[in-house]
């Protein structure tokens, strides 16, 4: 009797888990499936089919020729790489100062610094919009990148990590006459590589998916990133609702991050666990 009850519970658990798995996966399946249907076959299906017998790659060709998805992707790549690179340099320097250097007012400055973490983006984005517009930097990469660089949380994460490195190493380096910068680059950064990789991945995800700032600060499609690019494709892209082509664009945009996730699964999940947000 008891055993049967346990079995029933296990079955119920698996049913629930599989059900949620299907809800998560179904949209991905549907976007790949639809992207492989031809325009005419998609539109002739009043009742949509769950499979296709004549898959075509035409839509994938169309997203690079009929709409500038390639350009959006390159823009996003450039934006992501530069923003992340600047962020890492700035964050490593600041974290080092907070973790290793002694200076007057360190605790106070760090407390102020942390309090900025609570600041909602919506509150500061208004002035940033005005600042960048007045600096004539709208529709430019500096205008896209500069306000997106800082993430207080990553400095905090790095500082915690730097502090775990034993003091002896620092003192030994001092005795040897190693400069602070050299110590930072030769000792601290290599030791903290896992954390640095984690913040790089989290920042890359953030940049790749950022929508609000690019939408505000650019209205020239030559500077669109994938998020406002796909919105542009939806509203003015393929003429009359070419949904299969639109889905091909969605697949192309989604694949890089999914691949990144499958490669760095554990790192990403551990990083989000330590303080990612969303939702």
């Amino acid at each position: 009797m008891g055993k049967r009850k346990i079995k029933f519970k296990t079955v119920l658990t698996y049913v629930l888990l599989v059900l949620w798995g299907l809800i998560v996966l179904f949209p991905f399946y549907w976007m790949v499936l639809t992207s492989l249907k031809s325009y005419s076959s998609y539109n002739s299906e009043y009742i949509p089919k769950f499979y296709t017998l004549s898959p075509t790659l035409q839509n994938y060709a169309d997203v690079f020729t009929e709409v500038p998805l390639g350009r959006y992707l390159l823009n996003t790549l450039l934006f992501t790489v530069v923003t992340t690179a600047i962020m890492v340099v700035v964050a490593v320097l600041a974290a080092f100062a907070f973790a290793r250097l002694k200076f007057r007012g360190r605790n106070l400055v760090f407390a102020l610094f942390l309090s900025l973490m609570m600041l909602p983006n919506e509150l500061v984005i208004i002035t940033n919009f005005v600042t960048i517009t007045n600096a004539k930097l709208s529709n430019s990469f500096p205008g896209l990148i500069l306000p997106s660089v800082m993430s207080v949380f990553y400095v905090y994460l790095l500082k915690e990590n730097f502090e775990m490195v034993p003091d002896n190493l620092y003192l030994a380096a001092k005795v040897d006459g190693t400069s602070d910068l050299k110590y930072l680059l030769r000792v601290l950064v290599p030791i903290s590589r896992p954390t640095i990789i984690t913040i790089i991945i989290l920042k890359v995800i953030e940049c790749w998916n950022s929508y609000v700032w690019p939408r505000l600060i650019t209205d020239d499609p030559r500077y669109y990133l994938v998020s406002n690019g796909i919105q542009e494709i939806r509203e003015n892209g393929f003429g009359r609702e070419n949904i299969p082509a639109m889905m091909a664009a969605v697949v192309v945009i989604s694949v890089p991050l999914i691949v990144l996730f499958l490669i760095f699964r554990n790192k990403i999940m551990a990083g989000v666990l330590r303080g990612g947000t969303k939702g």
Binding site: V24, F28, I47, A97, K102, E122, T131, Q231
Partner: protein, 296 residues
Amino acid sequence: METNNKKAWLYLLPAGIFLAVFMVYPLIDVFIYSLEESYNFASQTSRGTGLFNFSYILHDPYFLQAVRNTALCVAITVPISTGLSLLIAFGLSSIKALKNLFQTIYFLPYVTNTLAVGLVFMILFKKTAYTDGMVNLLIHFFHGPTVDFIDGPYWAKMFVLCFYVIWIVMPFKILILTSALASVDVSYYNAAKVDGTKGWRIFLRITLPMISPTVFYLIITGFIGAFKEYSDAVALFGTDLNAAKMNTIVGYIYDMLYGDAGGYPSYAAAAAILLFAIILTITVINLLVSRKHVYY
């Protein structure tokens, strides 16, 4: 260790410049904007100083609509996503086979581009002249009346929005709860088993209290996130959210800055400050409640 003031400030300088220009100054400036009555970005003029901007947006039907939409979205998505993620995390922690696979699948929405995948939801729920769409096919199968979820009645649009929001926020919650559940000391369960405690009582009396700090953390971040709802709505209904009657508070802020109705940073600032005040109030209430109910 000797103090090295100058050098330390030098290391902090880059971060300091970025923060000063793009966070500290804007934070002060937003309050100034909110008090400059009807400041117009194009002509760089305002009518004076006072609280008119707040009164203007509080009488703006679009703002009230946005507040209503946002509040509904918060009230629906936060309890459902928290409860559902508890259920799933609990299920995940009670199995061994396929656990890794499930965890990987469940996390996928976290790394997807909200704007792009929202389009998939749009075509799944949309009803056009050419097709009723996937979801309506399902409804039809169960003999229900079909409905256009994207351009149809208000409740249908709200349903898709909430559905999509929940889909997007679940990975984060499942991940955090699964790890919290894994850190509960097994000896408590063993003791309960020896005492012959029933399964659901173990959950209510042991598991839930043990992970209550995590649950409250998720509720608070859930509230904050849902109040800032915006991109998911754009993904489903397009950029003109006012026309779709599906605008949110954050969407209202951006519309005031940019686009056809834009150029009014002072109204945007007033709306942003109101949003911040709402979020702060809810967070404080949550913290007060959690003090009474969190067992640590």
